[in-house]
Amino acid sequence: MSNKKNWPLWEIFVRSKNGLEHRHFGSLHAADAEMALENARDVYTRRNEGVSIWVVESKNITASNPEHNGEMFEPAQDKVYRHPTFYDLPDEVKHM
């Protein structure tokens, strides 16, 4: 176990129930994808939190640069008309 510090980091996504999307739960260390799945099962779903797990090695995720937040996100702030807020949703429609 001397090289356990070298285990890569994995991002864990869990689907809580059928019909819902996978959601980011956290990250953990594992030597490979299979171990990441087993570790995720034990770390994140031991209290019956999930029905499906995705694991992605963190290095494969391309993230936006916080320094570019201005140009990336601010232009959208004053454009409320892009939200579909002009429709009335029936109560029966959930998860919107």
């Binding site: 176990m1 953990l28 260390h29 030597a31 299979e34 087993e38 570790n39 099962r41 034990d42 770390v43």
Partner: protein, 250 residues
Amino acid sequence: MNNNLYNYILGIADNSLILGQRLGELTGHGPSLETDIACTNISLDLFGQVRSYFQYVAKIAGDKRTEDDIAMLRKEREYKNVLLVEQPNTNFAYTIGRQFLFDVYHLAFLAELQKSTDLTLSAIANKCIKEVSYHERFSSDWVRRLGDGTEESKAKMQEAINYLWTYTDELFHQTEADKAMVAEGIGVDVTKLKEHYYKQVSGLLIEANLEVPESKWFQKGGKEGIHTEHLGYILTELQYMQRTYPNMEW
């Protein structure tokens, strides 16, 4: 009270109780956060299973003893677990080796116990088998990783398997209670699991790039209450609270 049934269930329950206690020792001391939680989870699974057995045993005993009394307050010679499960967590390879050698047996055993004519036992087996399937997957996976890993991990895994091997044959010994329960269709004939067991175990060891030990000399005694020196220490910890503060509750 049906003595044979009582002793038979104790034999099953004590294996999981002592193995659960052994794994529990690793809580907070696992080699990594993730494996620490995995081992603790397996320990908790085993304690959950043990509860069902001891509740049933307490009912059969029919005296004033509760499930806790029977689980926690017997003397060393009255514990019927196999010697394998009381072996120490010398290093992670020993923990995994012990788990693997027990899980393969446990899974095959529960598959047969599901067919028991005793409905309580078959229901317990039915509930436990999914958990144990995962335990077996976890421990096999680690044997494969360590055996087929670095030179150091392979050497440690091989050493652990060689050491633990002498405790495997006892899994297939029949006690008097075993024979009586098999005759009644309640118990599992463990002698019939032996061939399947060694085939499974050897197959995985070869896959893991490890050697199958050739030793023909085996330890025995646990099922009759004759234990290795380790059990006394395990019980000291397991029974500490009740020995120090008799009848305490919380």
